[in-house]
Amino acid sequence: MSLLTRNKAPKLAEHNAGRKLFGSRAATIIVWIVAVVWTIPTLGLFATSFRPKVEISETGWWNLFLHPHFTFANYSAIFSTSTVSGIPNGIMPYVINSFVITIPAVIFPITIATMAAYCLAWVKFRGSDLVFYGIFALQIVPIQVALVPLLNLFTGGVHIGSFTLVPALHIAGKFLGIWVPHTMFALPLAIYLLHNFISSLPRDLMEAANVDGASHFTVFRRIVLPLSVPAIAAFTIFQFLWVWNDLLVALTFTGGTEGIDPLNNKLAGLAGTWGSHWELLTSSAFITILVPLVVFFSLQRYFVRGLLSGSVK
């Protein structure tokens, strides 16, 4: 046996080395070409945001690298708290709005989904599988389907005949009126992903805790939450990107209320009204892009680990 492996091992190593050496050089070149091509469009935006207004419309952005002529004027303009091209206080209020919308819209659904996922995975009851499949199925309901009825619920409540099932909530145009829809829409995917992860936690651990007489609440707090950090982090990235980058939900539920408009929403509007102000538009766009990038890169090591547990073995 040992002889056999010894005979084979060097051969295999050689073989692999040969394949890898040849394969790896070509692979590296191709991947880097794709990476560069993939980055060029974003680079164009980044470069434009550092160019003076007059040059943007006269020459292509690549001229910044041929004849360097940087300016920070665009950024100081959008961050100044005086009126910038018809926008009072620059874009800072919208940056704050985006954070105020996004942070709770990440925390709420993740908390509620983790609880539901634990229940469906470990507190089984008759029909719990059916509930799970039902929630899984809701993932594909296009949120467009839900917008109008939900908006009606917020402004008029739910009535069956003359019977009022839910009174008018009057939360449209308030932050709460965006947190709630985002929480609702996030739940199917969140529950599904977290359920995958939580149901793969070791059975012995759960049973040991039950034998010790710990309640489900204690198990949830002491065992499930700490162990689910990778999955929670992965979903945090997902949800943060989704809410920060969302246009449809914000458009529908802020109803253009100036005080609560998120940055992305404003940016879409500015693309129309600032059509001639490319220097302001590109710098604002870059700020819009920067925040999710920072979140993404700081949490990315969790991304695959949390997302794939259960589905890839």
Partner: protein, 326 residues
Amino acid sequence: MSTFWKDNLPKLGQMSAAIALFLAVLAVIFFIAGRANGKKQRPIAIVVFLGPALILLLFGLLGPAIRTFLLSFKGSASKHWVGFNNYHWLFTDPSMRIVLRNTVFWILLTPIVTTALGLLLAILLDRMRRESIAKSLIFMPMAISFVGASIVWEFVYKFANPDQPQVGLMSSIAHHLGFEPPNWLLTQPLNTFLLMVVFIWSQTGFAMVILSAAIKAVPADIMEASALDGAHGWRLFRGITFPMVRSTFIVVLATMVVATLKLFDIVRASTGGNFGTSVLANEMYSETFIRYDAGRGAAMAIVLFILVIPVLVYNIINLRRERTIA
């Protein structure tokens, strides 16, 4: 500066208060419910853990979905029943024909191109010694909003009249290659494909990262054993690698199909659905919120839903099989 903070500090306060209240309520419920013992403990736990999610889903998705289904059989003001009129219009109206055609193009092309490209990159990444920076660069567009992406791509597709300098990258390249660039986003049907490029650019990184993880999970000894048997290159891929990652490949493909169908932002932000680029999800928004025909909008939503059902059924069958294995 001070008026700025006077406007904005309360918002941050509101946010902190909302989070604190949310967590406090949960803590209190957990504390009270945790004290229940004996036979009541299980039902109470089920209600507390699952209740909030179910209520939110009921009012946020299930109820609205049913209501939309009903609305799709009503007229524009949702007053009287019109039978299948909205659906009849949807499948016979000449302008809708373009929308449906585009939607079919999108479904047939983008998911498979995105996923296949992601798989190819994942295989190449597997052969690289160090991968992190290139991988991150390809993944990066996923973090960019479609609104941001459409501004980013504006600098690629930008077109100027021939007497002015071309500041768009593609126009400039075309110009230097010696032919006059068309006005990219106005040229049909080219513009639809150009918008697909934005989607592919944005989502390939996601497909790549997921598939790359799946390839890494293929046990090394299987790869080595088959390499030993003389399988490499295409044969290794077809015989070993692909079958091992097939289920992940299909999950990613299904995710892309659903994302494609729901696609709204790219079309909305770059052409607004004009110039023959509209798709079902975008047209639905226009019909409902701009032309105020709730019935037609609802019918489109239902068609979207029906188009995703095969993906759903497949996913559930898959899921059930996985769960019985596990």
